[in-house]
Symmetry: C2
Subunit: 359 residues, 2 copies
DNA sequence: CTGTTAGCGCTTTCAT
DNA sequence: ATGAAAGCGCTAACAG
């Protein structure tokens, strides 16, 4: 590295971190005056303020201790976002990051911190939640039995849940996944014989699996469950039996996981002529895998996605349009007690070239 | 939403949130016994523990208040990650998310929360930093004069900075960007006549610009500056004058911004025969833009990237290999006082098909 | 095994 | 415009 990059004189651990009292004493004023200087400067005489600020600076006092202030005020000015998956996955998951961006929009605007709480499903999740110094929780799509949910409810703090499951005390923000799945699914299956589904995990271990006509009611994740119910309805309405539908699940909504699953689906004995994917990320890897096999879309294979990302347009993907960023913002608002406003989240189906027009 | 979506019991907003003292009184024990029950259960008689837990549950006490505990313990069990950009950008930035994942690895392992602090460059940044209840800061690549840096130093808390700039009290984690830029740059410019650079922002406004032979020393971001210095060295070593090199900057390291910039570079009067990009994300958009123009790579155009992402391999990109996730973890460790271990961050150049072999 | 004491650093409330 | 008192909810340190 260049010589303009010098760091690392030692850290002085011996110096006590100064407190308000230290500064007050050094400046010859009361602690209250120091507090006012930092919190309501207008209330303090110009000269006093100056003196306090100088003393603070001289002593290396950086301002009121946020923890003490939070305790006294009974408010942390921060909210937690509970992610039901390792953070590394969440950051690779376009849906999750768009949702997070929406939460962040509100937090930035209101000057709130965002605390990310990764869940591990390892028994410490409850602690992780209850130990966070926050004023409320936003929960990103999780499973029905997640201990995290119980902990959030136990905290007694306000919370908003995206996708599901609902709690009795929180706000649920979601589109009607089942209805949307039926609608988009029909675009692909109306002229198909062997549909398959590329699904989010349906059990908490998040293992990748390939199942035939799985029992949907047992799926642990409400979002996946509702979409599967919708897809099933679409298949049945097209005169197809759910028993014959193959469902492949990915461990995470990332391109890498999607590519593997797409490969599995297209290489197996089962030769699907329609694939209903629960995200554009997944669907696009199907498009690619199909292209690699010189399959013609939509003739040989119909594909639907979910989210209507910019890439969906690039790939001509028939998909469900929803605004996850807005839903993230809606969760934050709900939790902060703002007027609901967006209780009902809208969605629509965007029909493009990866499916054939319905009669 | 389906009626299968119920959880939790009613929330009584009228009830005061119980404290340890409340529980202690109700259970007929001292507050310390309640504290021990939650923090060192082994120290409490089984029967007493049982009683306390039951009482707590009955009263809806969710456990020790994290803020009070943090104040008393002098520790927050959370660290902040300071992002020099809006969160929405950071989440779209593969480098940033890989780095964050590394920080998250360590935090997850150690049970620490991650507080995301987006900077706005709006004068409140100092406050945002100093108001966070955390035990230290990890700073993601920022500019030399960022007020955030001053605030972090003023906090007196330990901090680790990725990329730069260094502070006197923090740890710097970075590869030798200048040396790496020279090395990878040479792969592309050794047989080129008109190189161009696709760069990260060089001024804090992050405006997209196209400059010819810019004054590198004035670039505000150390990472971009060092890489530009390295690229310049490569050009000069190849007998080319920096004055003739066009540098285009992107507002953010995202595919969208990259596509725009790649377009600008390839559509302008200046016809580059080599493009040195500061990330694989940027480089790949150049490859695509070149393909769309039927340019032949590496014959018509040599391209280098940075990071050696999986996509770099897919696209046959000559690039710099570095492990940002590990660097994120190194920052977290440094800040937590763990033995350094990774002071020196390694890098290497991976030569693939987007450049021509050097003689 | 359980309890007492004494604050952590700050700010609300109420004086002056 | 400044200050004194009180205590937010908890736990380290030290009894017993």
């Amino acid at each position: 590295m260049g010589s303009d990059d010098r760091a690392g004189t030692a850290h002085d651990d011996s110096a006590e971190r100064p407190t308000m009292a230290t500064v007050a004493e050094a400046a010859g004023v009361s602690p209250m005056t120091v507090s006012y200087t930092f919190n309501q400067p207008a209330r303090v005489a110009r000269a006093t303020r100056q003196l306090v600020l100088e003393t603070a600076h001289r002593l290396g006092y950086g301002g009121p201790n946020p923890t003490a202030r939070a305790l006294r005020r009974g408010r942390n000015d921060a909210i937690a976002v509970v992610l039901g998956e390792p953070l590394a996955y969440a950051f690779d998951d376009g849906q999750a990051t768009r949702f997070l961006a929406g939460v962040a929009d509100v937090c930035t605007e209101r000057g709130l911190g965002i605390v990310l709480l990764p869940m591990q499903n390892d028994g410490h999740d409850r602690r992780r939640i209850l130990d966070a110094a926050v004023d409320g929780y936003v929960i990103w799509t999780t499973s029905d039995e997640a201990p995290a949910l119980e902990a959030v409810v136990a905290s007694g703090l306000p919370h908003a849940i995206h996708g599901g499951p609902a709690t009795s005390t929180g706000t649920l923000v979601t589109i009607d996944n089942q209805a949307a799945a039926t609608a988009v699914g029909l675009e692909a299956v109306h002229d198909a014989k062997q549909p398959a589904v590329l699904s989010f995990p349906i059990e908490v271990e998040r293992r990748p699996q390939v199942l035939r006509g799985p029992a949907i009611e047992e799926a642990s994740f409400p979002v996946a469950r509702h979409r599967l119910l919708g897809y099933r309805a679409a298949c049945e309405r097209a005169g197809l039996s759910w028993q014959d539908v193959v469902v492949a699940t990915v461990p995470a909504n990332t391109p890498t996981a999607a590519a593997d699953a797409a490969d599995d689906l297209l290489s197996g004995d089962f030769r699907p002529d329609a694939i209903l994917a629960m995200s554009d990320t997944l669907a696009i890897e199907v498009v690619r895998a199909a292209a690699a096999r010189s399959m013609s879309i939509p003739t040989d294979l119909r594909i639907t996605g979910w989210d209507d990302t910019p890439e969906a347009d690039t790939y001509g993907l028939t998909t469900v349009r929803q605004d996850l960023r807005m839903q993230g913002a809606a969760c934050a608002h709900a939790l902060l007690g703002d007027p609901p406003g967006v209780e009902v989240v809208t969605w629509s189906v965007i029909v493009r070239r990866t499916t054939r027009p319905r009669p």
